[in-house]
């Protein structure tokens, strides 16, 4: 080793650096492309590990996807939840809904109320059962109780109760519409929590014909119409229909004389459970 080699190596490395620095500078000039500056910002917030675990080729690509809305910030597995919040906050994710909405079930005919005239056997999903003679339930509008909605709800906001009816936990429901799409009987409706008066039935028969199928069916007796402010409830096709335009006028009196309890006033969760069931859960 001589002093020469010190010079050599400094020169070589410096030279290589010079060369490529120059190249990069040139390339930078020549190949400049405008980009959304937010991408840079988001990239700053990302962990920059370029691991690709998000399925995107590298953090920058992920940042682009997040900025363009194709990916949710939570797609990054490396970031902690605080960091995810930061990214979401930076991008100004929509403010929460002004009025909270939840999914409500328009059927109360569980296995203890509704008549089954046949046993469905086969693939245990509501969609599959609905394709076979309506699923074996006498009321063709009613809930089949095979829990497609429970499965599809990503937030575990739905559980099936002892009556084989899906119960929506209002605190967990984000009104994502998944259950509405999933139910082959179209029994879910998203509605504001303030709408407390609900007809839990879709049966279009009247009188005994309806009650023969289900003990909590709306039999179109008109009592609720009489018991509420005019125009709030109307019987259409043998079913009580509430006009939510006039939601302010609704009041619990409407349900007082309903012979089948098809119409209900809900202060939170549908289908309150018996204390017995709660105890069983707690164990």
């Amino acid at each position: 080793m001589t002093g020469n080699s010190i010079l050599d190596s400094a020169l070589i490395l410096g030279g290589v650096g010079l060369f490529f620095g120059f190249l990069i500078a040139m390339a930078n000039k020549k190949f400049w492309v405008w980009e959304d500056p937010r991408i840079d910002e988001v990239e700053e917030l990302l962990p920059s590990t370029n691991c690709g675990a998000c399925g995107m080729p590298g953090c920058r690509a992920f940042a682009e996807a997040v900025v363009s809305g194709e990916q949710a910030p939570s797609g990054c597995t490396v970031m902690g939840s605080d960091d995810i919040d930061n990214v979401a906050a930076y991008l100004g994710v929509d403010a929460g809904e002004a009025t909270k909405r939840v999914a409500r079930l328009l059927c109360a005919g569980g296995k203890n109320e509704a008549v089954r005239h046949s046993d469905y056997s086969g693939f245990e999903t509501c969609k599959a059962a609905a394709a076979v003679a309506g699923g074996g339930k006498a009321c063709t509008w009613g809930c089949l109780g095979l829990a497609d909605c429970e499965v599809v709800c990503l937030l575990d906001a739905i559980y099936m109760n002892e009556d084989d009816l899906p119960v929506v936990i209002p605190e967990l429901c984000t009104a994502c519409n998944d259950c509405v799409v999933a139910c082959p009987k179209d029994l879910f409706v998203l509605m504001p929590v303030e709408q407390k008066l609900i007809v839990q039935c879709k049966n279009l028969l009247n009188g005994d014909a309806a009650e023969d199928l289900c003990s909590v069916a709306c039999n179109a007796c008109n009592k609720c119409v009489a018991d509420s402010e005019p125009g709030v409830i109307e019987i259409i096709d043998n079913l009580a229909v509430i006009n939510y335009e006039k939601n302010a006028l609704t009041d619990p009196k409407a349900i007082s004389r309903c012979p089948t309890h098809a119409i209900v006033w809900i202060e939170g969760q549908q289908f309150e459970e018996s204390s017995q069931e709660l105890e069983k859960k707690a164990v």
Partner: protein
């Protein structure tokens, strides 16, 4: 059996046709009540023409077609209209239906009317007469026949195929139709040929009905260019595309109608009923229906008026046996399971099958073992295994775009062979329903 014309893949379930094949058809007594749903066919439901309290005679039109693809409904017995209300339909829904209290004292005669001579009707107007008589395809789909008889101008029909395959196990109604009414079938063929403006027809019959082949050959009029062709016994030989493949050796292009390759398929019973319209003036109000299976005491073939309730049929046929387990409208492969004895018999009901517990034993559903048997069974060369896992994962769009769900005939071959008992065709039916729901906002 080998060496006969057929198609690739398919299955061969036990035929069980001997239960009723030898029993001649008899007229079914008129029940006390008739229920006639306004939608007994593919297309828009018909529009009622009567009010509760109206008196109707057998053969009167009580609902008219509500559009081009729609079909009229006629009173199948004389009596009084009781109401028009929601009533259970064999497909599981509640649909608006006309209820008629049958007059027990009526002679059940039709009103006299002028019957046009079919030879004199203009070719184009034949289908209008057929439409007026409420004729729909009796092969199962209940597609209004007048629509099929007026093919698009740019796709001229060259060959009329008469479908006498009756590939569904157990059922023998088409078989009996051919044995008992060969002349009517031929008259129906003449009328259809005239309506289509062509001259050649082929009658395809599965080789397990050689007596029908004989009868049809014997009855063949000399002046008609008709061939009676025995076909290999294989399910679903009677499906339109399979029949065409077997007879013409050509595949109906995916997504296209048979008219794309110049073919038109009509069921033998449909042909026979077309003939009746011009022979006696009777619209489509009754047909031969096979009541069979080991779950019914007295199986047989019956000429049953539509709208008769399942309950009445069962009662008249001796009732259910102890181990009856399932009631099915149609054959065991594609028929609809019935949950309610109040459902009425429809135009498309070719048979009522009551299976005993042994016949429809079912094992647990196991995971798919990727054996590929379903691929080897599917007559339209789909990949039911892939469709199945996609359906389970609820990836309906992919089913349609990647796996060609729309080409599935729901024939059930895949479910039939699946050793893991996966109800594939049921999943596909459900997926289609879900896709339809997603498409309509």
């Amino acid at each position: 059996m080998k060496g006969l014309l057929s198609f690739k893949h398919g299955v061969h379930p036990p035929e069980n046709k001997d239960i009723t094949a030898g029993i001649a058809s008899r007229r079914f007594p008129f029940p006390d009540e008739i229920i006639l749903p306004l939608s007994q066919h593919i297309g828009t439901p018909a529009k009622a023409l009567v009010q509760p309290g109206d008196r109707v005679e057998r053969g009167d039109a009580i609902a008219e077609a509500a559009g081009y693809i729609s079909s009229a409904v006629h009173a199948t017995a004389s009596g009084t209209v009781k109401s028009i209300e929601l009533w259970p339909h064999p497909n599981g829904d509640m649909v608006p239906s006309i209820r008629i209290d049958v007059d027990p004292n009526s002679t059940q005669m039709q009103r006299p009317r002028i019957i046009p001579r079919w030879q004199d009707v203009k070719d184009e107007d034949l289908s209008k007469e057929i439409a007026k008589a409420g004729i729909v395809g009796l092969g199962g789909a209940a597609f209004p026949s007048h629509v099929k008889l007026t093919p698009p101008k740019d796709q001229p029909i060259e060959l009329l195929l008469i479908n006498g395959c009756e590939c569904e196990p157990y059922l023998t109604s088409d078989h009996r139709t051919m044995l008992e009414y060969p002349e009517r079938v031929y008259l129906g063929i003449r009328i259809a040929l005239k309506a289509l403006g062509i001259s050649r027809a082929v009658i395809g019959i599965e080789a397990n009905k050689m007596d029908a082949v004989e009868v049809m050959r014997k009855a063949a009029p000399d002046d008609l260019d008709v061939t009676v062709l025995p076909l290999q016994v294989k399910y679903p030989q009677g499906a339109e595309k399979m029949l065409i493949k077997a007879v013409m050796g050509r595949e109906v292009p995916s997504g296209a109608l048979p008219s794309a390759i110049g073919a038109m398929v009509q069921n033998v019973a449909t042909a026979a009923n077309v003939a009746t319209v011009f022979e006696t003036g009777q619209p489509l109000i009754e047909r031969i229906i096979t009541v069979t299976g080991r779950g019914i005491r007295k199986p047989g073939n019956w000429l049953i008026p539509f709208g008769t309730k399942l309950r009445d049929v069962v009662k008249h046929c001796g009732g259910l046996t102890e181990d009856a387990a399932e009631i099915i409208f149609g054959g065991p492969m594609m028929g609809l399971g019935q949950a309610n004895l109040d459902v009425p018999i429809l135009k498309a009901t070719g048979g009522i099958l009551i299976l005993s517990r042994d016949e429809c034993k079912r094992q647990d559903i196991l995971p798919c073992i990727r054996c590929g048997k379903c691929l080897d069974a599917c007559p339209v060369f789909l990949n039911p295994q892939l469709l199945g896992i996609l359906a389970k994962a609820e990836r309906y769009e992919e089913m349609a775009s990647e796996a060609h769900l729309s080409d599935c005939m729901l024939c059930g071959c895949c479910s039939y062979v699946c050793p893991s008992n996966i109800p594939l065709s049921q999943l596909f039916a459900a997926s289609r329903a879900q896709l339809r729901k997603l498409a309509t906002p």
